[in-house]
């Protein structure tokens, strides 16, 4: 057979590696800033761009899509070429992919800082960026499949299956969850409302974890772990089961983020069952990774790359053990909305994604620069300081989470709630401080790595095009007579992609479609009315400032919650919520029943200086809301968009909206005046107050019999 000569493209790998390092540090700095803001509210800097509600999405988007995203592409572009014995399909596509992705990151950072957000966690980016992501993702897939088609290795190694599943599932998730109606260039409303929006969002959110943070990294594990240990994976059989079981089960698990919410009971149960089953393939994968080192554990002592990889795989095991546990309803009742979730997420993010990325970087850079690592000692220090950082981060957060939950649920013997919500906030300060320290250590480790790798780059000479040779793939393949169906699919990338897609679509469809088909079945509550134009504008300010990052709008049916907040939330309350704003974390109290609780002037003063109204508060100040004017000209477009989405405003209402808005604003301004506050009716604060006073008010106004019927 003729041997063909070709070259691997290392340049694109190098570019993605540099981007990973850069965005990793940037994303972690944003995380550290967010952590400090919870300890020292002054670090919000009294600027709109640097308040927690905007920094937190910047942090999550940066570490997920910029740090891990570039890490994925670095690892995929390196391993794919070698596993297929082929150069990437097109250098041009590689280039578009790289620069396109960096453009997305920059646009994301700027737009999030400016408050341009859809208000859906991990999918905050507005519609123009969503479209750009779709295009660049297709470029990535095109390049990957092009390479697969011109490969010189017939069999697709298991890592590639994970890459293919990642590509196809992320595409599906991103498109379905991002369907929105644009109002202007940087503003859109989710096509879905309330319960449906929540289900789609967490089907997306959970699977962003699954198919962006997990499956591609498992692919990388299956390549780089054997490579670094110089021995094949423990069991290839297990990896086949691991792959299919994992992608099959993961897609169903989304509703475990919505336990005890207004999501239908059967969907919650379905999510729980599949979440618990998930432990099997997850641990199968972890065991497969760790046992690859059987008989080679002595290497781990000396090889810093293996150290990082081993801790990464162990952290994966811990996080995926905890995940199913947290999805059990009784445990979730305690953990949800607390810092426990934050701890859980960071074991995965810092341990699994962080350490695996670091391990790969330490391995890949010296290889491509044909030199040794500048300082093994420094890398070892990074390993220990990073590990310490993870522990210092996670332990206080677990502690804090459990403490919060116990405080929220404790009653006195007389049957009164024992603690004010504020007590659970003030008691968190030392834990939040320890967490910030842990995060700072992790960041210092990452900076040490950057220094070490830059030095390595300086002392080496880069091999942009690596020579390789392999026999061409014969056109005809003579199958073994006893060839099996699975081996058939292992040679066929397109069919593998289609089958993966079918597998994930089944889960998605069965989970989501029934909720949509019976839209009319959401028990309507006669008193739930669409938002007035002013409330709608106020709601958009609420979304813009990222209030959902700290406040939930979902009272769960527990005595501790109904005593604290009021009647628990019903599905019918959210039918006009595009997007839903249930939130996932209570750094501050739930707001679902806030309306009418305080006078307008309380909110005015509270937004100007939260501690003046609630001493001990760590909420940022929002002075600009008192000065900035609501953009009245956007009202017509917003009402029109809502009408398109089925919100029942009377016909032609968009033209009357401005007048109604003015009237309601003047009422609030008059209210404020009674309490000695002089303000003009067109300020943003007035719209926000209108929205905050609307929260839960409709349910309170509902006829008693109607609520009783829903409560049962």
């Amino acid at each position: 057979m003729e041997i063909e000569k070709f070259q691997y493209d290392n340049k694109i790998v190098k570019q993605f590696a540099y981007a990973t390092m850069l965005w990793g540090v940037v994303g972690m700095i944003a995380g550290l800033l967010a952590a400090l803001q919870l300890v020292f509210p002054a670090t919000n800097l009294e600027l709109p761009y640097t308040t927690f509600g905007r920094v937190r999405p910047i942090h999550t988007n940066a570490v997920i899509f910029a740090f891990v995203g570039n890490g994925i592409f670095m690892g995929v572009y390196y391993s794919l070429q070698r596993l297929l014995k082929a150069r990437m399909f097109s250098d041009f596509l590689s280039k578009i992919h790289f620069w396109g992705w960096q453009l997305i990151i920059v646009l994301a950072a700027i737009s999030l800082a400016l408050g341009k957000t859809t208000g859906k966690e991990y999918a905050e980016l507005e519609w123009p960026i969503d479209i750009l992501i779709t295009i660049i993702w297709v470029v990535f897939g095109w390049n990957m499949f092009g390479t697969i088609i011109k490969r010189r290795e017939r069999h697709l190694y298991v890592a590639i299956w994970f890459y293919i599943a990642t590509f196809v599932t992320v595409a599906m998730l991103h498109i379905v969850n991002s369907i929105e109606i644009p109002v202007s260039l940087w503003k859109s409303y989710s096509w879905y409302a309330g319960v449906q929006d929540a289900l789609v969002q967490w089907w997306y959110g959970h699977n962003a974890v699954a198919f962006f943070l997990t499956t591609p990294y498992l692919g990388l594990m299956y390549y780089f772990l054997p490579k670094a240990a110089n021995r094949p994976v423990y069991s290839y059989r297990l990896s086949i089961i691991h792959f299919w079981a994992l992608i099959f089960l993961y897609i169903w698990a989304g509703p475990h983020h919505l336990l005890y919410t207004a999501v239908p009971d059967w969907a919650q149960s379905l999510g729980v069952v599949f979440s618990i089953m998930l432990i099997a393939p997850s641990w199968g994968g972890m065991i497969n990774g760790l046992l690859t080192l059987r008989g080679a554990w002595d290497k781990v002592r000396d090889d810093v790359v293996l150290k990082f990889l081993v801790v990464a795989v162990t952290a994966y095991g811990m996080a995926t053990f905890e995940g199913p546990l947290l999805s059990i309803k009784s445990i979730n009742a305690i953990s949800h909305f607390t810092d426990w979730t934050v701890a859980h997420v960071h074991v995965g993010a810092l341990g699994w994604n962080g350490f695996l990325t670091f391990g790969i970087l330490y391995w890949i850079i010296p290889k491509m620069f044909r030199t040794n690592l500048f300082s093994v000692k420094l890398a070892n220090m990074h390993f220990w300081i990073g590990t310490l950082g993870i522990i210092l981060y996670a332990v206080p957060m677990y502690w804090a989470g459990i403490m919060q939950s116990l405080m929220w649920k404790e009653f006195t013997p007389e049957g009164q709630l024992k603690w004010q919500f504020m007590d659970s906030v003030t008691k968190m300060a030392p834990f939040y401080a320890a967490r910030a320290l842990g995060g700072a250590l992790f960041l210092i480790g990452a900076i040490m790595m950057c220094y070490n790798l830059i030095k390595t780059v300086k002392q080496g000479s880069f091999l942009a095009n690596e020579e390789a040779e392999a026999p061409a793939l014969s056109k005809t393949f003579h199958a073994h007579s006893k060839d099996h169906w699975h081996r058939w699919i292992e040679r066929r990338p397109v069919q593998l992609m289609v089958l993966s897609l079918v597998v994930v679509i089944i889960g998605g469809v069965i989970e989501i479609v029934p909720t949509f088909l019976v839209k009319s079945n959401i028990p309507t509550i006669s008193s739930v009315k669409p938002y007035t134009p002013l409330e709608l504008q106020g709601r958009d300010i609420y979304v813009r400032e990222g209030c959902y990052t700290c406040h939930s709008q979902m009272v769960r049916p527990f005595r501790s919650e109904t005593s604290r907040y009021g009647e628990y939330s019903k599905a019918g309350e959210f039918v006009y919520d595009h997007p839903f704003q249930w939130g996932s974390k209570r750094t501050g109290p739930d707001l679902a029943r806030l309306g009418g609780k305080y006078p307008d002037s309380w909110h005015y003063n509270h937004m100007l200086d939260p501690t003046s109204m609630s001493p001990g508060s760590i909420m940022p100040t929002y002075p600009w809301l008192l000065d900035d004017k609501v953009d009245v000209s956007s009202t017509v477009g917003k009402i029109k968009a809502m009408m398109k989405l089925g919100v029942p405003y009377p016909e032609g209402y968009e033209n009357k909206a401005a007048a109604d808005m003015q009237k309601q604003a003047e009422e609030i301004a008059a209210n404020l005046k009674k309490d000695g506050i002089q303000t003009v009716a067109d300020k943003e604060i007035v719209a926000l107050i209108a929205y905050l006073q609307k929260l839960g008010k409709d349910l309170k106004a509902a006829p008693k019999e109607e609520v009783a019927k829903l409560t049962n």
Binding site: H155, P232, Y236, W244, V273, P557, K570, K709
Partner: protein
């Protein structure tokens, strides 16, 4: 306090989880069977792909 007010009335909702479980079960069984029956030498060869020194 159960959410019995929502979707309970769709006839045959039980078929959804049941179908999904059956699909998963049958598929999983297929993969498991294949994996058990798979040719050892072939698997060994395949698992060596990343270690090929030909790069």
């Amino acid at each position: 306090m159960k959410f019995i007010n929502y979707l309970e009335s769709i006839t045959g909702i039980g078929i959804y989880p049941l179908t999904s479980f059956m699909i998963f079960f049958v598929f999983f069984l297929g993969v498991a069977l294949y994996v058990i029956k798979a040719d050892k030498t072939y698997l060994k060869k395949v698992s060596q792909i990343p270690l090929d020194i030909n790069e």
